[in-house]
Symmetry: D2
Subunit: 424 residues, 4 copies
């Protein structure tokens, strides 16, 4: 750890929450260099939805490397890329009646968002994009301009223009429909909101604090886009690839985004991969207009193919996630009512948050969990939401075990602050 | 290839220049799915400096995967990351008397540039950054704002502000020193050039057409930065990691950049990795102020460690590159004078360009080479420069063989246009 | 008129609504070159609050010119300027307990707004400014960036950044307090609204359609500014100088703006003059940091002195305006209910609007009035509001006469469209 | 003066250089309230080219006011406006074969520049505008973005985008043609200079330090605009209306700007007036797309008509200015060579500067002149240039008298610093 402190930039973050050197990982467990085992309720912030070093993908990857398959190919054609495209079409798009062109915009989520914003602006010939309060879309300047967090925005060091925040689903409480408000602003030619090229939305805001968009609200936003000639971009980087149950988080809302960004768990194994999915009629890129070095990391294609074939040819994974999601929420609600913890549980699938009325308790509880070898992180504007994000493949028993640890941590922290209800 | 055309976005580029499906790679050779072998004078645009699937790195990577080493770790501490940092310190920084903090800004070059620009602006509290004519630094909006190419800039769809272009070394010919001009502009408080936070420079502009900065000019730019309280950022993403001979391209110029970006061949194997090196006094990031999913791709650490240990503990690679560089330039000059080809050869190390007076000939010659199984690309504002960039580990014979093919292609193309001199 | 069409730019506007060549003006009457007299319910869009060519001011101006008093003085000291400052202090500021430094930012309203925004940003060291839906603050790029009208914004030809629109008082109806909403957004560090330097507000939006801010809402906005370290800028260019009754429109709301812009009727005679009033603690300008040619047009000082002394040493004018304001609104409400005209009457003082549910009727009615020699204009996002703005000195009889004409015009237009209620 | 210090903003500038209260003005003389007379070599920074309170204009203005002519008319048609347009056409445009539409963009120079930039961007559909080192075009954000002065730019408090500075005529000395450099940058699609909508230029930079553009250079800039589909905007606000001799400063260069801004002395009497002249084919404004309160200040039309008719129906004024210009430069060169003053004299017409090698001497000399009742100001990036700008109607004797005072001041200041050459 001394090496990290000496040589790595002060910008490092997670290592401060999880101050341990990790060596190996398997499924929903991580092992530190001293042999301690940690239960993972974090999933690499959504990049390890299938757990660590899944054996099926591992075998495929080892075989590929062994055979000297192309590793790095920019955007040249390779066997691996072609197989990835075909698998994605067959396993994901076709069964869902989806028709999109796939762009490889660079290996990480923020690259996918940058490409999405560029093509949306090009298609509509307008520069403004609307984003939502508490949104998080990435750290490069285009993506950062549609991200809500003030300190991260300040990190830009330049004015982040061409984007305007608008209140997310339920922002002003359940009685007000922010989609209706937005319509009123867009239909007023003197509102000061210039006609946008697009709206970018997460169906469940991850970094923003597990804020769940209402399905009706999402439909209204889609209709607004149609009525006002804007593209609808769904950023499914954290919520996608099964995190909420279905492959795409927006499926149950019945909307059809014009552009979709996918990354994190897309490759399945933690190998960097991102795609920007574009409806064919909007794929008006000039050749090479957006490029980059690691757009075709073939190892990631190989693991992605294995992941798609293994987990998405049937609905077992999705069903299991939805089943256990109810169980997790039920237990969390129980813990809250028993302990008198002032908090709200919300989320979809394995994308669940505990929003703590006393904000600082969230980080304390997470730290207490880590002390007892459970890894989970906090999110929200004030780090006020405990994120419960186990790998989708976590055995039921391990989830119960993790919830036991979390329950105990809540008890301990509430007790320490004299907040434990008498009943508990 | 039908799959690519059907499913991949129109933005795809290299696949149009090299319309072939590739399956495997070894050292300086690529093999297509039909078994044809292609000689590589392209090196993945600088990402494959050690050739494809280097055996030493391959073994290290296979062992790591086999042992279930952590794959994805965000910015948590892992054995692999610590070993990478230590190796980079021991093999690269210490022998060169360098002291930098290492930031992992995301897995690809443009992420490293974004982080470099952010921290420079934060350190100086100013938003402007100067960049050079024909510069290329990446495609996300922060990096794109310091990139010269008009059509790529237009792709932003928004105004790219907070940056100003200034003429590169030798831009107006050898008799004018653009560093002196820049000093005059910066010392005039009414020049309209607001005081910049930093200057970002490539010592050899790759995408810009293999434009080589004079070492004296680089020294002057460094002095200008010191005199005017600006940070000097060297983007060594394409020119670094031995491409010009030494590990860092700026070493022979004797300058000491405040921030250095490195990516592409840093990981050695085509595995996505990028770092932003920051002088410790400027590492004033807040924890988490810049983040991202694939900042700690441990496979890339593993291959990078192997690459650094195998190739940079002595100066054999560097010396060999410099030796063969002279040979390549000598042969190219010979070809030009023999054929009467109106072109200029320039470059450093294995980063050599042939600037064609008749711009369109460059692409024709490259296409002719590809027809004869030699892969090379063109660069420059009008794709007017043929890039000669073999992997650094290419055997002499293969380089000669590639130059034979290139010579023949030049003959063919000149002849076709009736441009071949009588002597040839 | 042929000359105008031939030589003046297509940008001309009012001449299209009032297609007549005017020669002379006196009080609330204009005379065309053919001798026709027009009753003025327009007041030069608020620049002629005291009517045309007021005799007291006229005499002062003639004497000054006759005596070769300095006409143009940039920002040099002149007798006239000193007397203006003293009069403004004695007649306006002292009786109201106000303490402000006066800046002469250029001769017209938009210059005053530009200066206000500059100094607010300088004081707070932040670049964002909040403005309101339907706001109008001027046409130069700084002022235009805080103006709501989409087509005027588009006229900028560049991205108007550093400003964000928020809903004005009552924007979503009487049941929702947009000041509370704004507080919620500003207190959320991830809302995407970067901390602003200032809020700029009109107490009654003129060009926006005579939208009247609630006094409680204005107090809340002021409190929000105090709580969030923002400056409160009141743009009183159109609503000030008695238009709503009191000299400053915000007086009855009991707020104390940090910066106030005044222009239009400040000089009283139509002579170009604008001031930016700045609380002394915020007057941190460097000498000459903002300048301009016509900042000290001494003719305007002379007429302003006469206007202030004649009209504001007692409260007769204010009281009379408030008295007749009630009368005007009463008559307009009567006309509406009698005719069954679907419209809403609102406003303060002689700043009254008739908001027409069928937008296009507003311009028709205004045109019909002009045909009968009554001048009034329309405003609002869709030109849907008929503005009733007689000079403050209009005799009661003339106002009744104008309202007769307006009543008749409403009848005529409604009848033409078959919209007249049976009762009428 | 106490009133000024107490009540006027710290931003005041000229009053600090000329700390005296002025009461009346006549021709080229100003009288302070204590009766002291000051000789004017300043001309209100170019707004008083015909001297103070010219009797011909004065009479016309008094008559107009006496007759209750319309004072303020927004952009309604008035007798005065029509007569102004006709006179401007007959006296100025027709004899010069010029065909322009006239826009009244607001009463001061910066408004005219804002309108010029807006329409240029609209015509070309591009947002970038090129301006020159040391340019000065005004203080509102659009105009400020094309102004060079760093401290004034900083006053914006926001990023000034959409504009790029390029070196002015002779910026790098007489041996380098900056128009050729600019062509090279514009013809390189990777230069980083996005295709601009327009170039804005002063033929003689006033605030920038009396930098005189070469006529050949101006022609080249015009050709560059034609070749690269950009509009040429000449800002003739300070250099126009006879300041350099001819009515427009660009006449002897033989160029035909697409857009011309005129203000300052256009009205002749110090009455606020500005116009933006637009070639008819580019007058594509929508009605009302740019507006403002004091666009039609009829007093200014009246004085402008008198000025045009009195001074521009023949070439007497122009010839006289050119004759005396040579005399002034001759005397100044003489003073310099006699005293050994390290300075350069340059300029056109009565727009002459003395560029002092020791920058701080300029302000000292100006202050010494003021002590001896001669008013002149300094300009340039470091206030290093003494501006010699007498009213165009100054009698020869008064000019000689002013030069005597200036000569003495130079002697005194040089002597004080021990810089006087032995010969002097």
């Amino acid at each position: 750890m001394e090496t990290i402190n000496r040589l790595e930039s002060e910008v490092r973050g997670y290592v401060r929450s999880f101050p341990k050197v990790f060596s190996t990982g398997k499924a929903n467990w991580l092992t530190a260099e001293d042999g301690t085992q940690y239960l993972d309720f974090f999933s690499g912030a959504g990049a390890i939805n299938y757990g660590h070093n899944d054996d099926v993908m591992k075998k495929a990857l080892l075989d590929y490397i062994e055979s000297d398959g192309i590793t790095h190919g920019l955007d040249m054609a390779t066997d691996a890329k072609i197989r990835f495209l075909e698998t994605f079409e067959d396993v994901i798009m076709k069964p869902r009646g989806m028709d999109y062109k796939i762009q490889f915009p660079g290996p990480t989520g923020t690259n996918a968002v940058e490409a999405a914003l560029k093509i949306a602006r090009k298609v509509k010939g307008r520069d403004r994009v609307l984003f939502f309060t508490n949104a998080y879309h990435g750290m490069t300047l285009g993506a950062l301009a549609v991200t809500g967090n003030a300190s991260k925005r300040a990190g830009a060091g330049v004015c982040l223009c061409h984007s305007s925040p608008v209140p997310f689903s339920g922002y002003f409480g359940p009685d007000r429909d922010t989609a209706d408000d937005l319509r009123m602003l867009l239909e007023n030619s003197s509102s000061g909101y210039e006609k946008p090229a697009a709206i970018i939305v997460e169906t469940v805001q991850g970094e923003g604090g597990i804020n769940v968009a209402d399905f009706d609200w999402l439909k209204k936003i889609e209709t607004l886009c149609r009525d006002h000639d804007m593209l609808l971009i769904v950023d499914d980087i954290q919520a996608g690839v099964g995190r909420t149950g279905p492959f795409f988080s927006f499926e149950p809302a019945g909307i059809s985004p014009d552009i979709i960004t996918v990354s994190k768990s897309l490759s399945g194994y933690g190998t960097p991969l991102a795609i920007t999915m574009i409806k064919p009629e909007y794929d008006i890129w000039e050749p090479g207009e957006h490029n980059g070095t690691f757009r075709g990391f073939n190892h990631a294609f190989i693991t992605a193919i294995a992941a798609l074939e293994h987990y998405w040819k049937d609905d077992k994974l999705e069903k299991n996630v939805l089943r256990m999601s109810d169980r997790i929420k039920e237990r969390l609600d129980g813990i809250i009512s028993q302990t008198g913890f002032k908090a709200e549980v919300r989320g979809r699938g394995f994308f669940i948050g505990i929003d703590c009325e006393q904000h600082e308790l969230a980080d304390e509880i997470a730290a207490e969990c880590f002390k007892h070898h459970l890894i989970l992180e906090t999110a929200g504007a004030d780090d006020n939401v405990i994120k419960v994000m186990p790998p989708l493949i976590s055995p039921d028993d391990d989830i119960e075990k993790g919830l036991d640890t979390l329950e105990q941590a809540i008890h301990t922290v509430l007790d320490k602050h004299g907040l434990l209800s008498n009943a508990a």
